[in-house]
């Protein structure tokens, strides 16, 4: 099937103008080895929403995410988080912003040398003055939230892929951040575990009143969690809107992507489950 890319160069957001953005990209450019992964993207993320960044592998979804907490620096353009630019600052200067953010990495990124309790307690011990008893109670509470009570003494190597991600999520929410960044949270998991993680993202977002940015190529998970989705292709956000709007979109690339993932697209006829179900 041929794709008419010229039709996609000037995407029009499918939703009304966003007010009060908690994160904002302005003309963001990032290239690797001469290839533009982000080619002047603009985006506003609203406070309290769950935004999914969809797109094929290797299109720069994770790079997009890493710009929000300053792990990756743009070639040009601006990233504003909590209303302030985070571009051009040192690691030390980024610390106050990073303390209000958390990131769930693709593989969990749990510290191998620490058990589950120490992993979850790590940011708490670093950034707060809580007593050991308070820290232990907080760890137990967060483990309960992710549905893994009583595994404090286990080492990361003793956990399954799904459990590692849930422990990593518990660590991410230990300091009750205002924004949580999820990098491929369901990749490598079986459908049941993927669904559990997706449910957790929704419940954490609701209980902690956070803003979530979820990078994924898992459409099922996106359907469960997303308030809005953006579709990244060839360095640009080709589509911004709700999942239902994406599902009924006539964008050729988006249609092909949905079809490749086993979803009919462009007709608007397939049923989308209510969020969180």
């Amino acid at each position: 099937m041929s794709i008419n890319l010229s039709a996609l160069k000037d995407p029009t957001p499918a939703t009304a103008p966003v007010d009060e953005p908690i994160v904002e990209f302005k003309e963001l450019w990032k290239s690797y080895s001469g290839r533009a992964v982000l080619a002047g993207v603009n985006l506003k993320i609203r406070r309290g929403e769950v935004l999914c960044v969809l797109g094929p592998s290797g299109t720069g979804k994770s790079v997009t995410l890493r710009h929000i907490n300053g792990l990756t620096r743009p070639d040009s353009g601006d990233v504003r988080v909590f209303g302030k630019s985070i571009v051009g600052h040192s690691e030390e200067e980024l610390s106050p912003v990073r303390r209000r953010l958390a990131m769930l990495f693709q593989g969990g990124a749990l510290f191998d040398s620490m058990n589950v309790e120490d992993n979850i307690a790590f940011p708490v011990r670093e950034h707060t003055e809580k007593t050991p008893t308070e820290v232990a109670a907080l760890v137990a509470e967060k483990l309960n939230m992710v549905g893994l009570p009583g595994i404090q003494r286990k080492m990361p190597s003793e956990l399954s892929g799904g459990m590692r991600k849930r422990v990593a999520l518990a660590r991410s929410i230990a300091l009750e951040p205002e924004i949580i960044l999820y990098d491929e949270p369901t990749t490598g998991l079986d459908p049941v575990s993927s669904e559990k993680i997706a449910q957790l993202i929704v419940s954490v977002n609701e209980r902690l009143q956070t803003t979530s940015v979820v990078v994924t190529h898992d459409i099922v998970a996106a359907r469960t969690v997303a308030d809005r989705v953006v579709f990244l292709h060839q360095g640009l956000f080709q589509f911004i809107g709700t999942f239902d709007e994406a599902a009924s979109s006539s964008h050729p690339v988006l249609m092909e992507y949905f079809r490749a993932m086993g979803f009919p697209c462009g007709t608007g006829v397939f049923e989308t489950a209510p969020k969180g179900v």
């Binding site: 990073r98 953010l101 990124a109």
Partner: protein, 275 residues
Amino acid sequence: MAPPEPSATAIFYRNLGWLRFVDRFGRKGSAIVDYVGGLAELIGEAILDCFSRPFYGTEVMRQMDELGVKSVAITGITALFTGMVLALQTAYSLEAFGGKMFVGRVVSLSLVRELGPVLTALMVGGRVGSGITAEIGSMTVTEQVDALRAMAISPSRRLVVPRVVAVVVMMPVLTAIADALGILGGLAIAVLELRMTFQDYFTSILQQLSISDISSGLAKTLFFGFEIAAIGCYNGLQVEGGAAAVGRATTRTVVLASISILISDFFLTKLFLAI
């Protein structure tokens, strides 16, 4: 008639070999400058982090055990047998001149001033330097280092400083133990093989060995320890890719640490002899 002027294209192709050489040389040079610059930046950051809070004292103690105490066996065995070999070689070389009595003096001086510090540093460089790179490299490729940054925790402060401090503190201790074991190895050969007495051996040592010999040898190891830990940490943090990249970085650490120990040993020896 004068031959026609060669065209610019012809000149280009005639010198292509040279151009390729210059290009390759330039790339290598640029990579070396990048490496040294990055290493210097990390060292500067780590030194500043040493003198500001938070300081991870417990982690330093853990690293001192992991990197220092667990290296006693390997450095001790190396020094013990080096002392024994030195005693045998010295006795064999000096026997014709009746110089067997100098065995203790030669063994102790060689060990304390040069072989103890350098061999200990090379063994620690192999064991500890490679271990540091492998551990931090694995953390880098599994995004654990990025996780630290994302949590607003400096990888330099959390990973580099404790290792550098631990190795710098433990190197003189390991060297002192190695020196003592080397001298004891020499004693064993002197008594069992060369039929010398304890008294002759130690008298020979005490007549020659001075505090400055011991202190210059131990002082060198502070620099060696710093080099080993800094190179090990930097190579670990620079890893990109997967397990193969970690392996390559580990090898690079052993090579670079060994070379830097041997080169800096020359300059440090010159410096301490001049003082």
